[in-house]
């Protein structure tokens, strides 16, 4: 019976997030417009200036649009993770987070369900983006779209957990702008989303190391390889490891006696 309770709660949390997502069409459109602008404008503009050598998982020379497509899928998930954390800060300020936190289930489980719910939304967004990109001529082998699903789940969970961790530290909604400047942009630009590692190494060793160890880079590589039906073991392990670290810290952050929820209470 207890297991049934857990499953029902998980389904309820995921369905609620999907209901909200369907109600907030602007959010869906905004999430798609951002990567599409990058694809249609930025990538098209840089096509002639950035030449890419043959490198795994690609077996031939590719256009720049083809290279950045997995990076833009990662971007969707990165923004979605941050959007979820923004909504958690908002829910906490507005009070609706309390409904979740006072339900009779362990807090780690509730937060994990919330993470799953956010990931489900980001997976939908990612596939919609790839569908539009497909019409634009950026196509992957059909089996790649199947292999992509587990990769998207792992990367979505990892980036969502990062957002959740940040939300446990952010006390007020106003502080969220800082997250944009200090987390999203550095993570995105110092990664393999826009340029391959060897290209970064050519210009700066420090930047190369930062990009190499940036969890977002590994999430993008996991997505890139999966999309071409290949398995990148290192990227998977690194992404899973980051997920465990971020989620554990987020759970501690939301623990009423340990993390930020403690609110400096003293007896």
């Amino acid at each position: 019976m207890r297991l049934l309770h857990y499953l029902r709660a998980m389904r309820g949390i995921v369905i609620r997030e999907l209901w909200r997502f369907l109600r907030q069409r602007e959010r869906f459109i905004a999430a798609l417009v951002r990567p599409l602008v990058w694809l249609f404008v930025f990538a098209a503009g840089f096509r002639s200036t950035l030449g890419l050598a043959i490198m795994p998982p690609y077996e031939t020379y590719i256009l720049y649009e083809v290279y950045i497509a997995p990076g833009l899928v990662g971007m969707i998930q990165l923004f979605n993770g941050m959007q979820s954390s923004l909504s958690m800060v908002y829910d906490r300020e507005m009070g609706s987070m309390r409904t979740l936190l006072v339900s009779p289930l362990p807090r780690w489980f509730l937060l994990t369900c919330k993470l799953l719910a956010g990931t489900a939304v980001s997976v939908l967004q990612a596939y919609t983006f790839l569908l539009i990109a497909g019409f634009y001529g950026i196509e992957a082998p059909w089996e790649g779209y199947l292999w992509l699903l587990p990769a998207l789940i792992v990367s979505g969970l990892m980036l969502g957990a990062l957002g959740m961790l940040l939300s446990s530290f952010i006390k007020q909604l106003e502080n969220f702008a800082g997250v944009m400047n200090f987390v999203i942009f550095p993570m995105f630009f110092m990664s393999t989303a826009l340029y391959p590692l060897w290209k970064i190494k050519e210009s700066s060793e420090v930047l190369y190391l930062l990009a190499e160890y940036n969890p977002f880079s590994q999430a993008v590589e996991l997505i890139r390889f999966a999309l071409y039906g290949q398995f990148n073991e290192y990227a998977l392990l690194y992404t899973c490891g980051s997920l465990v670290v971020f989620l554990s810290l987020a759970i501690i952050g939301y623990n009423p006696s340990k993390g930020m929820m403690k609110r400096k209470g003293r007896g």
Binding site: M1, L4, H5, Y6, R8, A9, R11, G12, I13, I15, R16, W19, R20, R23, Q24, M94, G95, S96, R98, T99, L100, L101, V102, S103, P104, L105, P106, P256, S257, M261, K262, R263, K264, G265, R266, G267
Partner: protein, 247 residues
């Protein structure tokens, strides 16, 4: 903790930094009893509610719901608890039904249970016909009714209400106050109602006066009036809170 006590708060203290919000607070709420936690703004009522619901941890003292320690047996303790928070906590973008289904899922209710209980509670609140409406379209009074229906969906033994009538018009306030008192007498639910509005207290209620984080008086209304030598609740309240300020 007495045999009938559904909620027991025992020597609980809490501070935000150096500022003491609650100082050695002990209260009990029995089955079928409506207990009004009366205190001015900043008395510590919401802090006490946050501790009972374990949004914060009480570093000193113990809190038990249905004999389960909130800190040690959190899930079991919270299973028997329904809460209406001071701030509205409904999801405005979702319908009444979707909000209630979400809450029911968190409490592990089956589809069949949800169907039956949602209808029962919404009908009791006169809101069943409006179940498919978006919450955003409802007025403040109706939203509160939905929140009360939601808090009762899983048939809790203890209902906490943190100033649920704030911002409502007089008829809506009276309806909610009456409804909650009916719950105590007909469903034998234990109710802890935090308010600073004296006219929400019934003569039959158990009253706790909280001021500056300290329980100044506790007992049935007549007892409190007798203790303070006052003839009305309002007078008794002013005497206890004035004494607190002098202290």
């Amino acid at each position: 903790m007495s045999d009938r006590a559904v909620l027991s708060v025992d020597h609980v203290s809490y501070a935000f930094g150096k500022k003491k919000a609650l100082d050695d607070v002990s209260i009990e709420v029995d089955r079928g009893e409506c207990t009004v936690l009366l205190g001015p703004n900043g008395a510590g009522k919401s802090t006490l509610f946050s501790l009972i619901t374990r949004l914060y941890d009480a570093p000193a003292g113990t809190i038990r719901i249905n004999d389960y320690d909130v800190k040690k047996k959190t899930s079991r303790a919270l299973a028997g608890l329904g809460v209406v928070f001071q701030q509205p906590t409904l999801d405005l973008d979702l319908s009444v039904m979707q909000n209630l289904r979400y809450h029911a899922a968190l409490h592990g209710m089956s589809r069949k249970q949800i169907k039956v209980r949602v209808q029962e509670e919404l009908e009791r609140q006169g809101m069943f016909e409006r179940r498919f409406e978006q919450v955003r379209q409802l007025n403040g009074g109706h939203r509160r009714r939905v929140e009360i229906a939601r808090a009762l969906l899983h048939e809790p033994k203890l209902l906490l209400l943190d100033e649920p009538t704030v911002g409502l018009d007089v008829p809506s306030r009276q309806a909610i106050v009456q409804h909650v008192h009916d719950l105590c007498s007909t469903d034998h639910i234990a109710v802890l109602w935090a308010t600073h509005l004296i006219d929400e207290v019934y003569e039959t209620d158990h009253l706790i006066i909280l001021h500056q984080g300290v329980v100044r008086a506790a007992g049935v209304v007549d007892e409190i009036k007798r203790q303070s030598g006052a003839t009305t609740i309002a007078e008794a309240f002013h005497r206890f809170t004035r004494e607190g300020m002098a202290a």
